[in-house]
Amino acid sequence: MMTKLALRSLAAHKLRLVFTAMAVTLGVAFVAGTMIFRATATQGFDTLLKQMTSLADVTVEPKRQFTTENAPPRLIPHAVLTDLQQKVPDASGIRGAVDGYAAVLTSSGQVVGGESTGHVGITFAERPGSQLKITTGKAPTGPEEVAVEGRTAADGALSVGDTVEVQTLFETRKMKVSGLFDLEQKGFSGVFTFVAFAPDVAQKLLTGTDPGGPKEYSAIYVRSKPEVTQAQLAAQVRAVLPPEYDVKAGDDLAAETKKEIDELFDLLNRILLVFAVISILVGTFIIFNTFTMLLAQRTRELALLRAVGASRGQLTRVVLGEAAAIGVLGSTLGLLGGIGVSYGLRALVARFGAQLPASAPVISPRTIITAYAVGIVVTVLAAYFPARRATKIPPVAALRDDVSLPRKSLRVRLIIGLVMAAGTGLALAGSLSAEGEEAGALVAVGGVLAFITAFMLSPALSRPVIRVLGAPITWITGITGRLSQENARRDPRRTAATASALMIGLSLVSMATVVASSMNASADRRLDREFGAEFSMEPRSLAGFSTDAVAKVEAVSGVRSVTPVQVGTIRITGKEEPVVVADPAGLAVPARLKLEEGNATLGTDELLVGRTRATERGWQLGSTVAVQYPDGKDATVKVVGIFKDNAVVTQSYIMSPASYRAHASGNLIQRAFIDLEDENLTTATAAVKSALAGFPSVQLKDRQDAKKDAREDVDRVLNIIMALLALSIVIAAMGIVNTLGLSVLERTREIGLLRAVGMGRGQVRSMIRFEAVCIALFGATLGLGLGVGIGAALQRAMSENGIEVLDIPLDRLGIYLLSAVAIGVVAAIWPAWRATRMNILESIRQA
């Protein structure tokens, strides 16, 4: 009977049902979308890995010291190959391959496929069972010819006969596209870019060795005879080779790669789930609010049920049953919406440059179970408290004329809020005098307390704040505005809960904005201080550029000096770290590098360390540090100097070229600072530019460009945070729609009366619109206040760690405030339409 009642009640209010379910839907969609995204990407990679292992049963590679892409490769001499051919009985085919980093630059200097995608160069060898198939044109033959993979060519709009610039770790060369080819493992297409060279050319370009000399390989692939397992074959190969080679069975290699990918996605997922939880939290507010209102409108019905003998428990179950049904509906829609969200996340990740292998959305049973569990639990939980309160209604209330729910006073909330406010104040005040991590922790505590404070105090704040915010509206629109303001202030709890939902999203957005903007301002200031050169030469691709470009610029008249900088990789106490390979004295002018301790002359196995890093690791002058060079040699290096953190040299370590190059083979330059003679600035600039015209892989950047680059990175992260928070703001907007829609229903008679005494439809619409704007502005004011406050506190806590300037971007915050107004206006469309559609007579007659 009670079930029937719950279902009937739902069926009677389909529209309310849909709106409440929407709040659940969006939150669940985010959670489900995150899970679908993850499962889909994983599956895509699985397919890819399977194709990868089809290459070989066992792969032999030199032990990799570094995973960083531009770490120079180590090679396998041809002798190893012949050794294997003689000594591994179960091998059916042994092949040495030469591959490595190779990017294609278009004539305008753009890197095909983007700078953060992987760029692979391979050897084009036509032999039986070859993986490569030419589709157009012909295979590359001479030193000037390159074949381009089909998808790569499409990305770069390249066709056969085009001249491109190909850049490897060792050389940059102008080449002609001889043909287009297809990979056998099509899954990699689009994930990486591929170019193929004739064997001799590949060796020269990809390994830097002379084709005339001894043959060397970057990897050896071994196939097994049919009845031999990969493990057996691997054991045989391992027995033959010295320990500096990695021998991996195909399946193990796949498993290893999978683990790396999984770890990456675990991290990504955790970040995404934080945002999903925020969306759900916001949704919870909305559901709570909706049930409170729905039940308030049904008090008489509930009292009647009590009067005819239903127990409180039974009524609670009816309401919770309804909630569960809404949860089921919302979760189902959310699951479907999750597919859309997963595509959105994919696009977002793609904006960061990570191309994921294409795959149809994967919805695992775990995703389905989680989606329903989250949707139902959240809805029932959010409905529980309103349900308990509503069923407290005494049975006699059914007989009374004016029924209203018992309400606790706001005093308890006010007191909790004030205590929390005091806590917030203490934590934030404490953070001002604290330093480093301690200050950060105090800000975090203060931030959480501030949120609780805002939530607790929001009902009490709603009346005075809306009076102030609504004043201009009232002043302009007269009675319409006055009525909307009063309506917004009428039920402080309802308004507060609706506005709080918006507050959460906007506070996080504005906090991120203040921090990002402060980071940008700080970077600007440091670059102004420390970008001492006229120009900085920077590579367009990850690898770097050749020393030819440096030599060419050095020869230009009017150039005082060019300081080339190589960014290498060393492993310091087990962790791969970028290291600046340059003479520190040369950096004093272009980067304003300042040594705080020690001296600037670096000998063999000596290191300069940045101030922050030195403090972090507890290093002082004379400290010794265990490092490993790219060639795998372990060494103990001495800290001979500590330099002030620098905005131009952002890496934390500096090592002398002599010391580093003894252990690394690459000779590409990653950066060079150009210092011009002051008297010939204009002509020298033009001369440098024309000198570099032949090097499209080199970008010339001045201080403004450096600032722009710094900004771009920060802004990209900010935009992604905003995109992830957008959903919670949409949910909050739905909350306003819901609250207003139900308010309009509650006030049917009132609106009828207003219409009867001559209020036009347009005025009714404005009245409801302004009410929505008042609520949205209230939420936005709280949110911006919180966000700016916490953001500023964060900046202070991190002022020693690179965010030295506080920048509160009023223009952006103003846009957020205006957006809140727009959200209010949009959210009011449907409730306002409903209000104007009501029949005046029926409205007035309604009991």
């Binding site: 007269g478 009675i479 319409t480 006055r482 009525l483 009063e486 309506n487 009428r490 008679r749 009132e750 009366l753 207003l754 219409r755 009867a756 005494v757 001559g758 209020m759 036009g760 439809r761 005025q763 005046i840 007579l841 007035i844």
Partner: protein, 273 residues
């Protein structure tokens, strides 16, 4: 009061200028087929300017429907309605709203006030909606007439039922509309508050010449009016000048359903009480 003669005749004489509102052959039908109810059946009448007119009839007689049609709150199916010299039938929603705002006042049985506004704001509401400044002197007169001066800044929830209805009366009077329509204004009040409200209405007609139309089924209330129109089964059946409660009651007794009306009047109508 002297003008309370010949309700129907005015129209027939073709002197519409003397009527505050008129109905010409108005019919209103609810439902279709078997469930069809004629709420108003070819009603023609005229509301005299400056008079206090009562519309009486048993439950379901169509008196509320008639009032709603006269006030532009409801559409008629046939016939024409005039307020002053403006024909309501055929007016667009927007113009109807403006007409209600500027030329008509309302007093309902219950829920007459906006709970978020103070008594004074409720009184000036129609003028505020129209964006007009209230006539200060007249407003003072009205407030004093309904004796609300010390209650002006209270919200409706802080006022008694009688006080609330007085605020509603003041709101209707304040904008000096052509006609005030009152729908059972004393229906929810105790008898002393009811008497008070009725006295105001009568007084304001006498002193200021305000036209008021009141729908009621209470003979005592009808006794305050200048003339009464009797409605049964959607048809205008009689009128009475200078009614007294006793006379009205006597007349009402005769309205025991006559034979032909039974078929049209028995089904429940949506309108009125």
């Amino acid at each position: 009061m002297s003008r309370a003669l010949g309700l129907v005749d005015d129209v027939e004489d073709g002197i519409p200028g003397d009527a505050a509102a008129r109905a010409e052959g108005v019919s209103k039908i609810y439902g279709t087929g078997g469930g069809m109810v004629k709420a108003l059946d070819n009603v023609t009448l005229s509301i005299p300017r400056g008079g206090f007119t009562g519309i009486m009839g048993p439950s379901g007689s169509g008196k509320s429907t008639l009032m709603h049609c006269l006030a532009g709150l409801d559409q008629v199916d046939q016939g024409k309605i005039y307020v002053g010299d403006v024909e309501l039938t055929g007016l667009r929603e927007k113009d109807l709203t403006r007409l209600r705002r500027d030329r008509i006042g309302f007093i309902f049985q219950s829920f007459n006030l906006i709970p978020t506004l103070t008594a004074l704001e409720n009184i000036t509401l129609p003028m505020d909606i129209a964006g007009r400044k209230p006539d200060k002197e007249w407003l003072d007169t009205v407030i004093d007439t309904v004796r609300l001066r010390d209650r002006l800044h209270h919200r409706p929830s802080e006022l008694s039922g009688g006080q609330q209805q007085r605020v509603a009366c003041a709101r209707a009077l304040a904008s000096r509309p052509d006609v005030i329509f009152a729908d059972e204004p004393t229906g929810n009040l105790d008898s002393s508050s009811g008497t008070e409200v009725l006295s105001f209405l009568k007084e304001s007609v006498r002193i200021t010449g305000q036209t008021i139309v009141m729908v009621t089924h209470d003979p005592t209330a009808a006794g305050y009016t200048d003339n009464v129109i009797f409605l049964t089964d959607g048809q205008l059946v009689d009128r009475m000048k200078d009614p007294t409660p006793a006379k009205v009651l006597e007349r009402m007794k005769n309205f025991e359903p006559p034979a032909p009306a039974a078929q049209a009047g028995t089904p429940q109508q949506g309108a009125g009480r």
